[in-house]
Structures are given as structure tokens and as C-alpha cells.
Amino acid sequence: MSGAGRADRADGLARTRIVDSERWLGRLMLAPAVVYVLALVGVPFLLAIFYGFTNVSVSSARASFVGLATFRRAVEDPAFRTALGNTFLFACISQALVVLLASILATALQKDFRGKWLVRLLILLPWVAPVSLGSIAWLWMFDSIYSVINWTLRFLGFSGWPIWLGQPRLAMSAIITVQVWRTLPLATVILLGGLSSIPQDLHDAAEIDGAGFFRHLFQITLPLILPIQLVALLFGFVFAFTDMIVIYVLTRGGPYDSTQVLASLAFFKGIDGGDLAGGAATALFLLPVLAAVAVLMLRLARRTEVT
């Protein structure tokens, strides 16, 4: 394509070629990505909606339209309500913790210090490592017989031996812990970016005005990164709301569906159970919440751009 540049000069600059026409060039350069994404996201998306209105399954030869029956069946499944509640619980608690902890960590990491490279590597590890592998490590750490966590608790004098993945409340705590462990690095990175975008002048002015450590932190620094905290929160919420890997590896949704979320329920129904329509329908119930979050994020983005 670089030959076009030279050909231009030979032709004389009076001719308008595709490579000069900004509108067409822009569309041409954008088109492949748009087409690809539409094909691989848009089409399956519509297909998922379509399946929701049918009774297609792995064994069926053809699908027939059944109206809202599949959706109704999905909702009436007792596991559905539990999964819905669990999904919100899982996403809200884990991300609230993440944003809180990330704010603390990011504030502490602002200054340079010796060994920062290593600290940064260790803090990033949970996010860079493939999720399934990190989760397996936690599976081993939560093991009912050999759990190193329990051994350490016992060593410190604690008398119980919690079966982390075998009891409903504990299992939920366990998966929330792993989700926090794995998404904390990303939130920290986002917040660090936000903190560094506060002009140094503002910090200097606050020092001169006489703000002590806490006033400076709570009245100047934190309010200024509030928009970014919200961004991190929404990002993380969407992530956690639709995620199933941690649950698949650690508990498979058990015990007794206490850690089942909509995403994992959809998976087990559709792939393991072969009920494709039911799985698709279950997963579609994620959408209203996601749409609401998307609207929130757009509004937030518009506001931060205006300032």
C-alpha cells in the first residue's frame, strides 16, 4: 500500500484516491474489525435470544418455536432464584471489597521505593496468571484435608477445622476471596492511574493550606478519584457478574447450589445437561443488569470528560 504514496506524486495531487479520501479510508480501516465483531458477537447474541424462544437441545434435530415457555421454565427452576441471588451477592460484595482494598493499596503505592518492581510483580501476579490455574491453587489451599490455611489457623491456636468448600456460607466466602484476589490488581492499576492524574499543585496547595494527613486524604484525594473508583467498581461488577471460572473450578456451584451463579447455571444446563435453550435463556437474564450498568458507565464517562 505504500506504493500508493509514491504513485500519488507521479499522478499529481489533483486526483482523489481512496487513500486520500478520509471518509472512505476511515470506513475501510474500521470495517474489518466491525464485521468480525458483529459476526462473532452480534450473530451469536441474536441466536441466543432466538434459542430462548425455542426448545432446542443437543439431541433435537430441529428447534421449534415455543414462545416464552423456555424462559418460564428457566425462571421456575428453583436453582434459578438461588443463582440470581448468589450472582448479586458474589458481584456486589467482591467488588465493594476490591475497590476499598485497591484504594488503600494504590494510595500506599504512589511513591517510589526500593524493590517496587518486585512488589508490583507480586501484586500483579493474581491477575496475569490464568484464572483457572490460580483457582486450582486456591482449591489446593482450601482442601478439606490438607488445607494450608487450616493448618496455619490450627498452628495459631484456632480450634476449628473449617471445610471451606463443603459448607454453603464458607464456600461463598471462599469464592468471594478468590475473586477479590484475582481482580484486586486490575482495580489497583486503574486507581493508581487515577491518583497520578491529580495535579501535584493540588497536593501542594492542600499542604500549604494546612491540611493534615486525614483531611488531605478524605477531603482532597479521595473525592478527586471518586469517578475513577466508580469506573473500577462498574468494570469489576460486570466482570464478576458474568464470571463462572472461579466457581467452576472451586465448587462446581455446590454445595447444594449455594455458590451457583447465573453464568455457571447456564453452563451446566446448556453444556453438561444438553438443554441448549434452557442454558441460553438462563444466561439472557444477565442482560438487563448489564444494560443498566452500561448506561451508568456511559453517563459516568460523559461526566468525567466534561470536567
Binding site: 495535579p199 499543585d201 493540588l202 499542604e207 500549604i208 494546612g210 477531603q219
Partner: protein, 347 residues
């Protein structure tokens, strides 16, 4: 109100010396300007006085107290930043109130103090707005109000006018000076603009490469520069320098007038000046050229006010006069002002 002193103050960043052993004594109520090009250390010096930078060695003394170990908030100073540093998430009122709250003032007195400060700078109708809704000039006034509300002993101003439009700047300069005269607070002002410095300062400290080259009243620094740097930095167009023997002869463009039109009986020196190019600037004419008989290849600028009607053409030479006592002699090696006056005799 307090005196400010720096004693042998130094700041090094690695192997770069930003401020090199500066001694300053600033009087109570004085408006002192730190003037110099970017990188000369003036802002670093200001920040050390504020306590935002820790000096490598030397002392900062405010009101007779050595404040080296005191954080900024304990030094009873206020600062106006080039960017104004207004808290974007607070209203104008909250911005101005912030220092009072931070220092634990009685909450009942705060609204009145804020209102008084706002009225002094003329922004009392903007109290409920946020900084992003204000113009540059308005933001600058908010910054001033925030600075004065605590009645500090010293104001520190870091190029507060440089973000304003040129037209606004002259007006703002006037208001700023009236403001300081009214409050009578000791003020240290940093700028690279020599017009601002001359207009505002009671005294000017001209700085270059971390050192103070000269400290004095504006007219002193202008008329009796201590070295070629000061002579060249002040005045627009800058002083002309011409080699003469093993020294440098300096004279200002505006001190040359057509021979015969100088209304004085003081001793004059006559010089032939060849014009190469003329700029008509409205109030003045700038003649670019060179002296015809001495230092023929060195560029000289002459500035004639529009009230002097000397016809000038490029390529022609004209005879001009300058008062002998307006000639300055500088050492060619060091740039420092030679003690002796320019001697009479052929040039």
C-alpha cells in the same frame, strides 16, 4: 506580616545545582520579585521558602524564626500557584474556607471571613460556582482570596499572571499591586516577565543559573546593571553590547538620539550609525544596524520614540548622540560591570 530571609540556601538535584547559595533579606511589607529565565532556580527557591522542597543546605528564616523543620502549614504563609490549584470538586466558597477549616478556625467565624476575602477581590457573587465554571481571571482572584483569608505573614506567588490573556494581564497587574499595598503583607513574586517585575516590585532579585545576580530597586537594576546578564535581561529591546578594546561597551537602544536633539548640557558622545532595517512599532521605531566607525560587524539596535522626527532610510548612516554617563563598561571575560566609568576619548 514578617521578614523573610534565606541564608546560604542551596538545592541540589543529583549533580545539578538548582539554587546555588542564595542570601536574601526581604523586609516587612516588601514586594520582592524573583526574576529570571526558566531554569534559573526562582521557583525552586520559592518552594523552599514555602517548605514544599527541602533545601540541601542553608536556612529559611521567617519572622526571625528558623523554619527549616516546619511543614508548610506551620510557616504562616500562603501561596498562589501558576495553575491556581483550585480544588475542582469544591465550590468557590468551600475553596476559600478550606484553609480556615484545616487550621481549626471557629466554624462560626468562617462564613464571614470568606465573604470578606471574596469581597476584597470582587468575587462575592461567584461563591456558589465551581472552578470549572469560572474564567481565568476569576479563578486567579479565587486563588488570591484563598491566600489572604488566613491573614498569613507572607504571600508567595508563582507566576500568577502568566495564564491570563495579554490584555487582561496589565489590568490584573494593577489590581494585584493595589491588593498588596492594601494588605501590606510581605510578598515574594516569581516571574520571567521583566515588565511585570519592573512594574510590581519594590525590589527585584535577578537570578540566573541558581544565583542572584543583582538585587535592587527596579530603576537601579535597570540603570546600573551588575553584569551583562542583568543588563541584557532587562529592557526590551535589550542593551547593546559592543567590543571596545578588551572590554564590552554597553548602551541602551533608547539612549541614542539624533545629534543635536538632545535637550541637555551634559557631556555627549557622538556616534555614526548605519541603518539596515527599520521596524515601525507605533509608539517607537526600532532601527536595526551597526555603528559605522567602531565594531562595524556587531549588531546594534536604536529605539527612537515616535516624537522624534528623524527621517531614516535603510542603507544610510546618521549621526547620533548618547550621554556619556549612559555608557556602561563591562569586563569581557566575566561579564561583570567594570568599576570605572567609560573614559572620554575617541571610541
Amino acid at each position: 506580616m514578617a521578614t523573610v530571609e534565606t541564608r546560604a540556601i542551596r538545592k541540589e538535584f543529583g549533580d545539578h545545582t538548582a539554587v546555588d547559595c542564595v542570601d536574601l533579606q526581604i523586609r516587612e511589607g516588601e514586594f520582592l520579585v524573583l526574576l529570571g529565565p526558566s531554569g534559573c532556580g526562582k521557583t525552586t527557591l520559592l518552594r523552599m521558602i514555602a517548605g514544599l522542597e527541602k533545601q540541601t543546605s542553608g536556612d529559611v528564616v521567617i519572622g526571625g524564626r528558623v523554619v527549616n523543620d516546619l511543614p508548610p502549614r506551620a510557616r504562616r504563609i500562603a501561596m498562589v500557584f501558576q495553575s491556581y490549584a483550585l480544588y475542582p470538586h469544591l465550590t468557590v466558597e468551600q475553596n476559600i474556607a478550606f484553609p480556615l477549616k484545616a487550621q481549626g478556625a471557629d466554624p462560626r467565624t468562617i462564613p464571614a471571613s470568606v465573604r470578606q476575602a471574596a469581597t476584597t477581590v470582587g468575587i462575592e457573587q461567584l461563591l456558589h460556582r465551581k472552578p470549572r465554571q469560572l474564567s481565568g481571571g476569576e479563578r486567579q482572584r479565587v486563588a488570591l482570596a484563598r491566600a489572604m483569608v488566613r491573614s498569613p505573614d507572607v504571600f508567595l506567588l508563582d507566576e500568577p499572571l502568566s495564564n491570563l490573556d495579554a490584555k487582561l494581564r496589565t489590568l490584573a497587574r494593577d489590581e494585584l499591586q493595589q491588593f498588596q499595598r492594601r494588605l501590606g503583607t510581605t510578598t515574594i513574586y516569581v516571574t520571567h516577565d521583566q515588565v511585570e517585575a519592573m512594574g510590581l516590585g519594590d525590589r527585584i532579585a535577578v537570578m540566573s543559573a541558581g544565583k542572584v545576580r543583582q538585587l535592587g530597586k527596579p530603576q537601579e537594576v535597570y540603570d546600573d546593571p551588575a553584569d551583562t546578564f542583568v543588563a541584557g535581561f532587562l529592557g526590551s529591546p535589550p542593551m547593546n553590547f559592543v567590543e571596545r578594546g578588551d572590554g564590552l561597551l554597553g548602551f541602551r537602544p533608547e539612549h541614542l538620539l539624533p545629534k543635536g536633539s538632545y535637550p541637555t548640557t551634559e557631556p555627549l558622545v557622538d556616534l555614526w550609525f548605519r541603518v539596515d532595517r527599520i521596524e515601525h512599532l507605533g509608539a517607537d521605531r526600532l532601527l536595526y544596524g551597526a555603528l559605522r566607525d567602531i565594531a562595524k560587524d556587531q549588531k546594534v539596535i536604536v529605539s527612537l520614540p515616535s516624537t522624534v522626527h528623524m527621517p531614516a532610510e535603510p542603507g544610510q548612516a546618521y549621526e547620533l548622540s548618547i550621554k556619556r554617563r549612559d555608557l556602561r563598561l563591562f569586563d569581557k571575560q566575566t561579564g561583570r560591570r567594570a568599576a570605572a566609568q567609560a573614559e572620554p576619548g575617541p571610541l
